[in-house]
């Protein structure tokens, strides 16, 4: 893991723009080599739009349709929600920073708390900061490809809320979700995408 020296002289007002500079490397769980490899993957999705040179910090965003066609995400039922949770502009398009952030959180080195925060965002379909019954129903439909009957779905949703809701408001806040995740030893290994 070599240090990348700062390009600018000391004292000059430097903008945080170097692609794989020390600053990016220290803010994600990836090494410099991996960040460069991610840039290669980002570039090959739209070679005409994404520049190879990131020193001027270009404002390039790729739309959601391109990103969810990546082989790592294509078959995932939650792919739209994953991309939306990391998108800064609310429409699901990712800049390169968001792209690296997404795979950094989903890598195996990210700690449990950070993954829980983003998992909560992903499963919160109506983005009201709670996982309510409708969110759960949508999650179940995506998980089982609508193989469960309506009665079974209602039953499962009720049981889940009964098990995990602690403050009795009928939906899961982040504290409830995090508490439930802490009981699941598998969470770290399942909430993980290799890139």
């Amino acid at each position: 893991m070599t240090r990348v020296q700062c390009h600018c002289a000391l004292g000059k007002k430097e903008k945080p723009t170097a692609l794989a500079g020390r600053k990016t490397e220290d803010c994600t769980f990836f090494t410099r080599k991996e960040i460069l490899r991610l840039h290669g993957r980002y570039h090959e999705m739209a070679p005409n739009v994404v520049p190879m040179d990131y020193t001027k910090d270009p404002d390039v965003k790729l739309p959601m349709q391109l990103i969810i066609n990546m082989p790592e995400l294509k078959e995932n039922p939650f792919k739209e929600r994953i991309v939306e949770s990391f998108s800064e502009d609310g429409e699901g398009s990712l800049s390169f920073n968001d792209f690296v952030d997404m795979f950094s959180v989903l890598s195996e080195m990210a700690p449990r708390e950070l993954k829980a925060i983003y998992a909560f965002k992903i499963y919160d379909f109506n983005t009201d900061n709670f996982i309510c019954k409708s969110d759960l129903e949508q999650t179940l439909n995506k998980l089982t490809r609508e193989e469960l009957t309506a009665e079974e779905i209602t039953l499962v949703c009720e049981k889940v809320i009964e098990e995990a809701d602690m403050d009795g408001d009928g939906k899961l806040g982040f504290a409830d979700f995090e508490n439930m995740i802490s009981k699941a030893p598998d969470f770290l290994s399942t909430f993980h995408i290799r890139i």
Binding site: L143, V160, E163, M166, I181, P185, L188, F191, H192, R194
Partner: protein
């Protein structure tokens, strides 16, 4: 004017109290989630609700920054002085550590950011880096923070990035463990087989992947032992070869039997000399003065042999215990009794699976599991009848009797066989052949028993020239045979079976990858290596080679012949189980056997590094005595050796301490369970309070609107 405003205030208060009384008289209806479906809430109420901390905490950048500012401040306060009670209520700046005007809840985004930067600067670089990595802000925001931090921190002090390995976070790592961790993280960074593991995980999921990750872990253990033995035992002996008999000619059979050409080679114990290598005094044995030639480095071979093996075992033990405690810590949770369904819904989806067919299979699996869980919860009340329970017990007992008798039968047969064996070149292979054959066939028999019994039962394996070289050769043969039979088993169990299923029986079902059996085979191979390392120091090299080849063979067979597992396996609990199985029967057994050999068994007289000594351990003892004689200042070392290492009192004392620690931990866990229960009740009460307050707020605003 003052009086009228007070008058107004009093009037408002009294009307509020009336409203309060009215509300108290009403029945409290506890309908959860009512505020969401309640269209009657006024817009003011809804606006207030929308800005509650619980609803904004994940949303706005400002809220996240405030939260992490508080967290950092708490961290800093905790590390510097003992926390005072109710610090947030006090107004004294010296206690609050920040100015009163900049109340973080009301500041703008820029001010919040600068506050956070100020707090982060007061942390140590390691903590700062960790805090920055774990805050859930976007990468652009983090980079801005990082840039501001680097600008404001002292120039010249390069901020140091802690490694993301667990050792980098804890402050009190002992040197040995941190060294091992450093090497581990180096190896992990090198990432051998990264793409292969990704492919396997993508198609078969985390459960089958855990087998291959376990294989990689074993490879790392073997490489460590190999390095230590290579540097301290094999290399010095290779540089100063002993005068040996003429070597026998090399025929191809040696690769399988390990005898013949290999008998007097670096591979086995017998080759190693019992003298101090490179000793300038060795050439003048009559006690005359040692020639003062150029300073050379005399190397005490017996001592190096026994110490290197001891150190490599110690290192393996430490690494094993560390990885076992880490995976155990991940999978064990205090107070986790309910919550299966919720956990299944949110944690069952394996994000690593990327192939379409596997994804479809996973969806079906989850659907089946959910239906099973629902059915189980529905029928939990009705228990089995007496007849069914009796039937189940009988089946269980029968299966146990069959398993135990077959194991005993194998043991007796092998003992009889090994005693009546002739010692010829090719016949030497028969015993390992029989053992490996049994190893391969018995698991299939037990699998049949298990399907009948609906329970897993682990396989109980049979374990059994210098005589050390003979033992080493035996173990070498075992290792090689195990490898050959694993290959054959992969060939027949997976490839041929798939062909039979497809062509003859015309079923479109491929065989499944039997994770448990394969892992047990790995553990068996590793046990053999650990048993044999004292008698054949290059055995870890052979095991390393075998593991590398096995990875590719298993992977190819998996991709061509197997289908995704239909049973749900929990990957992390399985990894814990594998490592525990490796540690307890396997490593502990090997360590006990080795300790017994080193401490009690008489080494052979004619060859090896311990010729003429009573036990192998005596070489260490004579060295300590020699040290004592040569340098009277370090008698304390001999004293330590005599009274602490050799005295059995120390062993009893350590066992007592261990038992006390275990008891203490059990009590801590019990206390934690009680606290968890109390906290859950408290959270439920707070939730009720919150609903009550929301209703009251709504009624207050309603009253005000009605009056206006």
């Amino acid at each position: 004017a003052l009086h009228t405003s007070f008058h107004q205030l009093i009037q408002e208060q009294s009307s509020l109290m009336e409203a309060a009384l009215e509300l108290e008289m009403q029945e409290r209806s506890r309908e959860p989630g009512q505020d969401e479906q309640h269209p009657n809430f006024s817009p003011t109420t809804l606006r207030i609700l929308a800005s509650m901390p619980s609803r904004t905490i994940g949303r706005s950048r400002g809220a996240i920054i405030s939260q992490y500012y508080n967290r950092t401040a708490r961290l800093r306060r905790r590390s510097s002085r003992p926390p005072l009670q109710q610090l947030c209520r006090t107004a004294r700046p010296s206690l609050r550590h920040y100015d009163l005007e900049t109340d973080p809840t009301r500041a703008t985004l820029e001010e919040k950011r600068s506050l956070l930067v100020k707090e982060l600067l007061s942390l140590s670089p390691g903590q700062r880096s960790h805090m920055l990595l774990t805050v859930p802000l976007s990468l652009a925001e983090k980079r801005t923070l990082r840039w501001v931090l680097s600008r404001q921190s002292q120039p010249g002090r390069a901020p140091h990035r802690t490694s993301s390995s667990p050792c980098g976070r804890s402050k009190d790592c002992i040197v040995l463990v941190s060294l091992g961790c450093g090497l581990l993280s180096l190896l992990a960074a090198a990432q051998p087989w990264h793409y292969a593991l990704k492919q396997i995980g993508g198609r078969f999921g985390s459960s089958v992947l855990s087998y291959f990750v376990f294989l990689k872990t074993l490879l790392i253990f073997n490489i460590f032992s190999l390095l230590i033995l290579l540097v301290f035992v094999v290399a010095p002996q290779a540089v100063y070869p002993p005068p040996s008999a003429s070597p026998r000619p090399f025929t191809g059979l040696e690769l399988l039997t390990g005898a013949g050409y290999f008998t007097h080679s670096l591979l086995y114990y017998g080759y190693y000399s019992n003298v101090t290598l490179n000793d300038p005094c060795a050439s003048s044995p009559n006690g005359s003065m040692c020639p003062h030639t150029a300073p050379q480095f005399p190397y005490n071979m017996p001592l190096a042999y026994v110490f290197s093996i001891g150190v490599s075992f110690l290192l393996t033990c430490v690494l094993l215990v560390y990885s076992m405690s880490r995976s155990f810590g991940e999978s064990y949770r205090v107070g986790s009794s309910t919550g299966d369904l919720a956990v299944k819904v949110f944690c069952a989806w394996d994000f690593k699976v990327v192939q379409r067919r596997s994804v479809k299979l996973q969806c079906e699996n989850i659907c089946t599991q959910l239906k099973e869980l629902l059915a189980e919860q529905r029928s939990r009340s009705c228990s089995l009848s007496l007849c069914q329970r009796l039937g189940r017990t009988v089946v269980l007992l029968l299966a146990w009797v069959l398993s135990l008798s077959s194991v005993l039968g194998c043991v007796v047969a092998l003992r009889y066989f090994s005693e009546h064996m002739h010692v010829q070149e090719a016949i030497l292979l028969v015993l390992p052949l029989v053992v490996s054959l049994l190893n391969v066939l018995m698991p299939h028999l037990y699998n049949l028993l298990a399907t009948w019994e609906k329970q897993d039962s682990p396989v109980t394996e049979v374990y059994v020239a210098c005589w050390e070289t003979c033992v080493g050769q035996d173990l070498y043969r075992f290792v090689v045979m195990d490898f050959i039979f694993t290959l054959l088993d992969t060939l027949f169990g997976e490839l041929v079976w798939r062909l039979i299923l497809e062509k003859k029986l015309k079923r479109n079902q491929k065989p499944e990858f039997d994770i448990a059996r394969n892992v047990l085979e790995l553990i068996y191979g590793q046990t053999l290596t650990w048993l044999g390392v004292l008698f054949a120091p290059l055995l870890p090299a052979i095991q390393t080679l075998k593991l590398v080849l096995l990875f590719y063979v298993k992977k190819t067979s998996l991709m061509q012949n197997c289908q995704s597992p239909s049973k749900p396996w929990q990957a992390s609990r399985m990894s814990t189980f594998f490592i525990t199985l490796l540690c307890f029967p396997s490593f502990l057994g090997a360590a006990i056997f080795l300790s017994y050999t080193i401490l009690s068994v008489r080494p052979s007289e004619t060859c090896g590094p311990f010729q003429g000594l009573e036990t192998m351990y005596k070489s260490g003892k004579t060295w300590v005595q020699l040290l004592e004689k040569s340098n009277p200042n370090i008698t304390w070392f001999a004293w330590v050796h005599q009274y602490l290492v050799e005295n059995t009192f120390l062993l009893f004392f350590m066992s007592g301490v261990l038992l006390a620690v275990i008891y203490f931990n059990i009590q801590v866990v019990r206390g934690q369970r009680r606290i968890i229960r109390l906290l859950k009740e408290q959270i439920a009460n707070e939730g009720e309070d919150k609903i009550f307050l929301i209703q009251k707020l709504h009624s207050v605003y309603e009253q005000r609107e009605r009056r206006a």
